[in-house]
Symmetry: none
Subunit: 191 residues, 4 copies
């Protein structure tokens, strides 16, 4: 059972790893096929072409990430606690899905992303946007365009994640704690 989509999943898994490790342009379809133990032609039974494959992958992991952030969101707790929730989930996502966030980070501005992918990425931002807007209303968050604040937190966090992935920085609890504080100090309202 479930054999019908097994190949599809293998293809997606292999594609994720290879896109993260080598990038979209340097990853060939035969490479993915070999890693997924399928024929090159088989990939085209599940995905119209290479761009559809990468967009499918991108949207899937952006949605997984989005849902992870949303789930168990401490609606009625303090802004600081909500920030902690979001930040910890971001960290958890990078821990659980070794390649996913790196793939998202390195491909989120790519020329081949379609509207659905860009929209999914925007949805991800919406969570942060709503949170920050609420925080600004409560005077807990700095009065700067919300988009700008997201860019700073997200851009900073992803850049850091990239360094950890590249092995240039060690992922310790202390570091993650420090980064959370850093990002919080960046966006919080300073009296």
């Amino acid at each position: 059972m479930a054999a019908m989509t097994e190949k599809r999943d293998n293809i997606l898994d292999s594609a994720l790893t290879l896109f993260a490790e080598r990038g979209f342009d340097a990853t060939t379809i035969p490479m993915i096929a070999k890693d997924a133990n399928v024929g090159a032609g088989t990939i085209y039974r599940y995905f119209e072409n290479k761009e559809v494959l990468v967009n499918t992958l991108f949207q899937y992991y952006v949605q997984v990430f989005t849902e992870l952030l949303k789930k168990d969101f401490p609606e009625h707790h303090s802004i600081r606690e909500q920030f902690h929730h979001l930040f910890q989930r971001m960290i958890r996502f990078t821990d659980e899905q070794e390649h996913a966030l790196y793939f998202i980070k390195t491909h989120n501005a790519a020329y081949f992303l379609d509207d659905a992918s860009r929209e999914a990425f925007t949805d991800l931002w919406t969570i942060l946007r709503d949170f920050l807007d609420e925080g600004k209303a409560e005077n807990e968050i700095r009065d700067l365009p919300t988009l700008a604040l997201i860019a700073i937190i997200f851009g900073g966090f992803l850049e850091l994640h990239q360094l950890i992935r590249a092995g240039e920085l060690e992922r310790t609890e202390a570091l993650m704690q420090g980064v959370e504080n850093t990002c919080w100090d960046a966006v919080r309202h300073h009296p």
Copy 2:
């Protein structure tokens, strides 16, 4: 007059934009040629090959940026004033060459960079590292790995810059002022 290097400059300009927007691998020589309004072969009169072109470009903008940061650096002023200098120069650099910093950030670890490019990048890196290390020594900057601090500032700032370029955010003096404060609050030591 000055027509002798006009084509070379057009090529470099087109290459910068395309490398920044699509990346080195996804940018083809015919694309650059078309954008620069020259024949594909003409590019090879000025640059030995595609890798020499990208390295020339990389070194040029890294050096321009490095010199811009170094010039008039307020050596004996406060860490905050030094931060202000660096941040304003970074803003000025992105204003003057909207693609250059993004190009540098997305290509600084690329497989095709030669020794001169890596060296130039190290020089740039050194300015920021020395500044942050000095700041940490004076207890003015947060005690986090220097690499992490640079990642957060750059990652955040560039993500923002992308939004401005995309027209999603308007570049006002007030915004830039706010972003500088945000980044300062991120990295400064909070007593």
Copy 3:
């Protein structure tokens, strides 16, 4: 049946003809592909690149020729009979593969030949050299540098072969007989 290597053989056949007629440098991959009725990319399924193709071809025909000369060599017969054996086999080789010997002769000193090709050619050379040296030792062959004798026989024979191929001379048994005698009179010791 046997369809699996049909394309490979077509490619080799076309390459042999074109390399012989135009030379390696003037023969393009598209030319070979067109002549072999395959796509240009197909050639690269069978041969890593153009140089591997030409080396494969070279080694193959040098070996075929070498073995043809060696087989049934009348070791203990007279020099004249040995000469007859070698000459008849050379004629047979050109009859069976009209371009092969000319291809070998025009490419045996080429810059793109690899070690295996040079070695194979040396083996071929050795047969003729040993025969002529033995003949000189027995005072049956003219006392001229062995290299010169080989050059004269091969140069003469191939020039003639070209005339036959061009249709300017008819290949009759009498002609071949006459040519063998001519070449023998060229190299034999005249008392």
Copy 4:
């Protein structure tokens, strides 16, 4: 004076040397221009294109060679003396025009030769043809198709010349004497 064709001569000289040393395909127009101390465009003032240049060159030297063989031909001497004359002139031509015969030898079957070049080459053979026909009539020359005899002498001689040029054989008087005897023994009538 004579300045008007000086450039043309320089171009032809450089082309001869380069075609002989590297072959037609591996010689570029800029190479010839540089060696001849003219601009690349200048070559096109004197020769319509690269093929016209190589054909002009080919025809010129084939004619020079042809005339050298014809001049002072010992019409009423013995066949053997006439053969000696022709052979010595062949040798003299290779001595005087270091690159010319090698160029002719390596390019006489090339795909780019036009009708005039092939005709000139045929004219060269005509001298040998008339001589051999006369010799056959006098029963001094072997009874084999004249074309075949020319191929053997000429092919053999040129192949040998190539070895000398390549440095694999030393050009001594004894060798040249031996080669003449070899060729004579090849074509003469053996009673």
